[in-house]
């Protein structure tokens, strides 16, 4: 009942909250093999976490709080101990609690950055008096969750491709002689049947150690912790290590003065191929190559060198051997981030508390790409030749340098008079963000083992830039309650930002909320079954200042009429610099503003053993900033970024909890579900296309947009009678609906065919304990959500890539009229069937057992003589069970990314121990 929750610039008793806040504490996180703190937020109502990749050191989950309310950055603001800091750079083991501020009432005190919700992280501190040493350790293995069912038999691949080409009216690619030779061949180097997923993925170990020393005297408390995570990737030659430090101390210098300091430090060092695991070189890195891999290719030749292909097919004109690219060269990313935080708190007369905090958030990163020279041996002819179409041998080094400084001051006054309780908070904050980067590149290396810039000799290139943004803010809060029965709160923030032109900089973001604890009323006070009943309501405004432009997550100076440099040319080998207007600017842009209403009901019964929480919310974001598309005839300029429209997110969150104990058997169930309706209300009638998604009025953001498939043509007559699709259309092709009724199927027949924002997100956790055993399980699920795939293997024989089994078995033929797939063709050779259409929209709903944990705590009696105060052993299984119809890859994926494949998620089994002294 007396649970205290961290709120903006303070704390509050949970029962007195009038806003909507979800929270979790360290107990939920304890001992789980979480490699990135962003993965911790599962099972919170209104919070959708999506871990789209398992790449060591880059496996952060994206977090969406109450939907997607902007076309720009939708990430929530994360504050660690009051300072903006990335959640992924906090060791999960150092987290004491996390509060997620969901509605305007709770987050408007963070004004212009709060529109996507706010996450407050409190790190662990020492307890005064006690001295304690904790050591945690776990280790285990990880494996990939899911891969497509790809054809790995070379003969089947070749025969299938010939069949696909025949259907396009093209001659076979592989001659019968070659197929016969392959069938008869026995040498596995010359006639391989390679499964590239087997070659490139492995069972990989991970381990984590955490040591914490904490305690304090009567006046001073401290905590020092060290963490070490060592994770090998499930893709060969990938790994990540994290070293973390969290130290804090606070002390009462005098009766009226308290000072404290903390340092959170995090050092990541990651390794993967210079070709990158899943993003670079126009292929989506090695993942792209793996999804392109053919069964006729093999990693190694007879002589132990890397193999080259001897069968060369169009679209696979050279073999970028992924094993070779993994083993040779590297991409190493070293990133150090730290947060240093100093505060002083003074108790002034009249019970006024003044607090000031100065903090520096530093990032220093160095990324190094060592591009190797690799030679491949042709397994049939023995000819050795250099690998084709990979970056030339060279070295690229990029450094990143960010310094964010924050200084804020708050004044607090709490007063209680009879049944009236009043709290006042006023504050001022000033922040500056300085981001810089520098990149250098060199070529002309004499050996792969030379991995410094200085060792190269030709074609050096440099680039670099820096940018600064600033924020000034004034904020305040008023709390009032009458005998903890009638609750009222008002918050406001007045923010000025450097990101907009003079005159459009300042924004005011107020919020109001009220609550009524009916359970405190006389007529309910004596109810035995009811322990708490509260209704609450809030309304307020929030802002968003971040503007995305193209690949830039943050576009600064989009209000400036800029003439960009770098539009260079060369004359006779001499580079000349060029400058041009590349974008139309709109000097009048200003804040995106979100207004949100929230009505909530909290109830608990039977001594709080049964609890229930319900929130209805209506969130509307207006003045959304977005680059508009303008006709190319205006100099093919980028459109201006303008405040173009509004988006609505309406939804309901329900959570239900029950806990009980029967004799020595304890158990609890917590379940929650969020329904969310996302809708673009107004974008001035424009339509914004991005690949196969659209932003348009009346539809959810980034809805899939394409033709509506209405089955497969069965007869030539049917093709004849249908509106014209293409001169090549024949039976076995997809049939599209003529939406505009003009008897021609074209771009004007496209409609919304799927949604990429889940309508329902849900989760539940089960816990049980018997004597010294305890058990917990956490499930997470999505329902009513789609995804769309266009990449290699998602479509047959795309760009010379492979094919999945279902295409060979289940595609339409005159003998198989009721087939689930259209006739087999290559996707490039016959694009008609692979236009964006409803036929290829895939249901991405899933239910996943995120984690299951079983633990045993040794009885205190046994430990009494050893000096150990606590000893626990545990096992975890992560991602081990998934229910879904999505079979292509892991369903927990970036739902709008159709073309490229990300580093797969891992499932893991780990075991560990906790010891405390």
């Amino acid at each position: 009942m007396d649970q205290v929750i961290v709120v903006g610039y303070g704390t509050q008793k949970k029962v007195n909250l009038t806003g909507s806040i979800a929270s979790l504490d360290q107990k939920v996180l304890a001992n789980r093999p979480i490699t990135n703190s962003t993965q911790a937020l599962q099972n919170l109502p209104g919070v959708f976490t999506n871990q789209t990749k398992g790449r060591p050191g880059a496996d952060a989950a994206t977090i969406r709080i109450r939907g997607v309310s902007t076309l720009n950055n939708s990430n929530p603001l994360v504050l660690v101990d009051g300072i903006e800091f990335p959640l992924g750079d906090v060791n999960p083991n150092d987290i004491e609690s996390i509060s997620v501020l969901k509605d305007a009432a709770s987050s408007s005190i963070y004004g212009n950055r709060a529109a996507n919700g706010v996450i407050l992280v409190k790190t662990k501190t020492g307890k005064r008096g006690a001295f304690r040493l904790d050591y945690n350790f776990y280790t285990g293995n990880q494996r990939a969750t899911q891969f497509p069912d790809v054809v790995t038999n070379s003969v089947e691949y070749m025969e299938g491709k010939n069949r696909a080409l025949a259907n396009e009216g093209k001659p076979p690619e592989s001659s019968q002689a070659l197929i016969d030779e392959y069938k008869a061949g026995t040498d596995p180097f010359i006639y391989p049947n390679t499964n590239w997923f087997d070659e490139m993925f492995q069972t990989a170990p991970l381990q984590e150690h955490n040591l914490r020393l904490s305690g304090g005297s009567e006046k001073t408390a401290f905590s020092v912790s060290l963490g070490y995570l060592n994770q090998d990737g499930i893709m060969i030659q990938t790994s990540g290590k994290r070293y973390s430090l969290n130290t804090n101390v606070s002390s009462d210098i005098t009766k009226n003065l308290k000072i404290g300091a903390s340092v959170v430090g995090n050092f990541w060092t990651n390794r993967e191929s210079a070709y990158t695991a899943d993003e670079g070189n126009g292929e989506g890195g090695l993942m792209g190559l793996i999804y392109r891999g053919l069964p006729m290719q093999t990693p190694y030749a007879q002589d132990g060198n890397y193999a080259d292909q001897w069968i060369r097919v169009p679209g696979h004109n050279f073999f970028r051997n992924p094993v070779a690219l993994s083993n040779e060269g590297f991409r190493k990313n070293n990133q150090y981030r730290s947060l240093a935080n100093l505060f002083a708190e003074v108790l002034l007369p009249f019970n006024i508390r003044y607090k000031t905090t100065i903090a520096a958030n530093l990032l220093y990163g160095i990324e190094k790409f060592s591009y190797p020279q690799i030679y491949l041996t042709n397994t049939k002819t023995g000819v050795v030749s250099p690998i084709g179409n990979t970056p030339l041998r060279g070295l690229r080094q990029t450094s990143q340098n960010n310094i964010n400084l924050t200084n804020y001051h708050t004044v607090n006054w709490d007063h209680k008079l009879d049944k009236h309780t009043l709290g006042l908070l006023g504050g001022f904050s000033i922040e500056s963000f300085n981001d810089g980067n520098f990149s250098a590149y060199n070529q002309g290396y004499l050996g792969n083992e030379l991995t410094e810039l200085n060792a190269g000799s030709t074609s050096p290139q440099v680039s670099g830039t820096s940018a600064q943004t600033k924020l000034i803010s004034y904020f305040g809060r008023l709390n009032y309650n009458f005998s903890e029965k009638y609750l009222f709160e008002a918050n406001a923030r007045y923010d000025g930002t450097s990101r907009f032109a003079k005159g459009n900089r300042w924004g005011f973001f107020p919020s109001f909320s009220a609550g009524w604890r009916l359970s405190e009323e006389d007529f309910l006070k004596d109810s035995r079954s009811l322990s708490n009943l509260k209704i609450r309501a809030s309304y307020g405004k929030l802002g968003n200042q971040s503007i995305a432009l193209g690949n830039q997550s943050v576009a600064l100076f989009s209000y400036v009429d800029a003439i960009s440099l770098g539009q260079n040319y060369s004359f006779n080998g001499n580079i000349v610099s060029g400058a041009a207007i590349t974008q139309v600017s709109d000097p009048n842009i200003t804040w995106e503003t979100t207004t949100m209403s929230d009505i909530g009901l909290d109830a608990s019964f039977f001594n709080s053993s049964l609890s229930f929480e319900l929130d209805w919310f209506d969130k509307k974001t207006s003045n959304i900033l977005r680059q508009i598309s303008i006709p190319a005839q205006v100099g093919n300029l980028g459109g201006p970024i303008q405040n173009i429209g509004s988006v609505s997110n309406k939804g309901i969150e329900i959570s239900l909890g029950y806990k009980n104990m029967i004799n020595q058997f304890r158990y609890n169930i917590d379940a929650n579900i969020t329904y969310l309706e996302n809708k673009v209300i107004d974008v001035r009638g424009q339509k914004y296309y991005s690949g196969n998604t659209i932003v348009q009025e009346g539809s959810a953001i980034d809805s899939f947009f394409g033709l509506q498939a209405v089955g497969i043509f069965q007869t030539a007559e049917e093709v004849q009678n249908h509106p014209f699709q293409n001169i090549g259309t024949v039976p076995g092709d997809l049939k599209y609906r003529d939406i505009d009724g003009n008897n021609i199927i074209d771009n004007n027949d496209r409609v919304v065919i799927g949604n990429s924002i889940p309508k329902y997100t849900y989760g539940f956790s089960l816990g049980a304990g018997y004597k010294n055993f305890d058990f917990s399980a956490i499930f997470q699920g999505l329902y009513d959500v789609d995804t769309y795939l266009t990449g290699n293997l998602a479509q047959p024989y795309k760009n010379g890539a492979g094919v999945t089994q279902d295409w060979l078995a289940e595609s339409w033929t005159p003998e198989n009229l009721n087939a689930s797939l259209p006739r087999l063709t290559t996707s490039n050779g016959y694009p008609q069937n692979f236009q964006t259409s409803s036929f290829w929209v895939r249901d991405a709903s899933y239910l996943r057992l995120k984690n299951i944990q079983l633990g045993y705590s040794f009885p205190k009696k046994l430990l009494a003589k050893t000096g150990i105060s606590q000893l626990k052993v545990f096992v975890n299984a992560q991602n081990y069970l998934t229910f879904t119809d999505f079979k292509f890859s892991d369903p927990e994926r970036n739902l709008t990314r159709g073309d490229l494949i990300e580093y797969p998620n891992a499932k893991s089994i780990t075991a560990g121990v906790n010891v405390s002294f």
Partner: protein
């Protein structure tokens, strides 16, 4: 109270800086108000107009220009947009139509912005006039596809202005043509452009480039007399001569040789293309047997009627331009004998626009984005052929240089015999067209030729075969539609005032 005042002081001092604290200016770019002051800035704006030539979307970029031949019977592209278009499966949403449209207007917009603002810059007037002439030539260059391929597009010649220009409808092809010719005439006015440049200016627009491009435009427009006159000006200027070695004309070490009138400039590593990889390794655009068989035997006769053609050794005794343009199985290339399966797309590879030599093994294997061979947009042999065609088509023009004589100059370079004497106008037309195809094969110009000669539906409605005679694909050309490109879907989507060309959907 002391503490109070201290706090108030801190708060006050921090708030005092208020709004000016938020003033941040960009340090990596100019703004409109800080630009257009110096000669360097004006020149940079002009350079940026040139830079559109190498934009990957531009139809003048090396890849796109060379690959245009895959829309003709010359070469074959197995999977990109060129394949879709050559099979007649394209529509207004096909990417190439949009990218070429965009790149054209990118160049036009930059030229317009330059021309609208350059007078704000105080600088040497002669140099300023030269810059303006360069910009006008470039604007004409960028309007060319909008006239020739799209059949007319919004005609915009003022500084980019979103409000004024976003909803302008299409102008007719004739209006765009008139603007192109006006810009070229303006660029030629008063001879503000030099005949040639040296050193770090080599590659800029010359007097000859303006006349040669004007000749091309007039030729494509069927204005024969004017075309002949423009071409004659280039010939008479005596600035250019045929480079003695036809293959060497396209070698890296001979860039900017005596035959080159205007070329698109590349430089590794900053501005590179990938033709060395895409033509040689990726089968980007592969010569077809119809092209290979069209090269005459060295006696100047088609292979079917030549006595010295030997079907058992089909590449012997042939016009040497065959060996210089096409990688032929059984011949030596890159220091090794080309095998039968080396170029699986058609059996042939395109040699022209790769840097490789027949008898030298390359020291390194090039990778994507490492080729720097300039793409030649205008060369003297083309001017001679333009002249020959124009003068043959024009009636009643008397000139010291006959059409046949101009052709013979081109043939003499590759040691092909002179044309037979006494050919009729029609016979000469056939020889001129054949000569253009052979001389310019693999350079992307044949596509414009088969469109303007209106022979596309005859030569493109056919299956295509590889070197062994096996059918590899089909082609389709719809004469009622495909003589023009569609206005791109996205352009119409963003500006509904744009009308579509006949028989295309939106």
């Amino acid at each position: 109270m002391k503490k109070y005042s201290l706090i108030l002081l801190i708060l006050f001092s921090l708030t005092a800086c208020k709004d000016s604290f938020l003033d941040v200016t960009p340090t990596d770019r100019f703004t409109q108000s800080t630009f257009w002051n110096t000669k360097e800035q004006g020149e940079a704006a002009l350079n940026a107009t040139y830079a559109v030539l190498i934009n990957t979307n531009s139809n003048y970029s090396a890849r796109n220009a060379v690959y245009l031949d895959a829309l003709t019977p010359n070469t074959y592209q197995y999977n990109a947009d060129e394949n879709v278009i050559s099979r007649g499966l394209h529509n207004a949403a096909t990417g190439t139509f949009n990218t070429v449209w965009n790149a054209s207007y990118l160049g036009i917009g930059r030229a317009n912005n330059f021309l609208a603002n350059i007078d704000k810059v105080t600088m040497d007037e002669a140099l300023k006039n030269r810059y303006k002439a360069e910009a006008k030539f470039l604007r004409a260059l960028y309007y060319f596809p909008l006239w020739n391929l799209y059949g007319g597009a919004p005609l915009i010649t003022e500084a980019t202005n979103y409000e004024k220009q976003a909803s302008l409808p299409r102008n007719t092809a004739e209006e765009v043509l008139a603007q192109i010719l006006k810009d070229l005439d303006d660029a030629a006015l008063n001879d503000v452009l030099p005949s040639s440049y040296t050193g770090a200016d080599k590659g800029r627009v010359t007097r000859g480039a303006v006349q040669a491009f004007k000749a091309r435009i007039l030729l494509y427009a069927g204005r024969w007399e004017e075309a002949a006159a423009a071409a004659k000006k280039v010939i008479d200027s005596k600035v250019y001569s045929l480079f003695p070695d036809y293959r060497g004309l396209f070698y890296l070490e001979n860039e900017g040789n005596s035959e080159v009138i205007f070329d698109v400039q590349y430089k590794f590593p900053e501005f590179a293309h990938s033709l060395d990889v895409s033509l040689d390794q990726q089968l980007g655009t592969a010569p077809l047997p119809t092209l290979v068989n069209d090269y005459y035997a060295t006696d100047g006769k088609p292979i079917l009627s030549s006595a010295i053609y030997n079907p058992a050794k089909p590449y012997d005794n042939r016009d040497s331009r065959l060996q210089a343009t096409v990688i032929l199985p059984g011949t030596t290339f890159k220091g090794a004998v080309v095998t039968d399966i080396q170029y699986p797309s058609t059996g042939y590879g395109q040699k022209k626009y790769t840097i490789f030599k027949d008898n030298e093994k390359p020291t390194i294997v090039p990778t994507s984005g490492t080729s720097e061979l300039n793409y030649i947009l205008l060369r003297y042999a083309d001017v001679l052929l333009m002249y020959a065609e124009a003068i043959n088509e024009a009636s009643g023009v008397n000139s010291a240089l006959s059409a046949a004589a101009a052709i013979n100059l081109v043939r003499a370079r590759v040691k092909m015999p002179d044309l037979a004497i006494g050919l009729t106008k029609e016979q000469l037309r056939e020889e001129i067209r054949h000569e253009r195809r052979i001389e310019l094969a693999g350079e992307g110009f044949y596509y414009y030729d088969i469109l303007r000669w209106k022979i596309a539906e005859q030569v493109l409605n056919t299956d295509v075969y590889n070197s062994k005679g096996a059918r590899i694909d089909n082609r389709s050309f719809n004469a009622s539609r495909d003589y023009l490109w569609p206005i791109p879907s996205i352009a119409i989507q963003n500006n509904p005032a744009l009308t579509q060309n006949p028989n295309y959907g939106k």
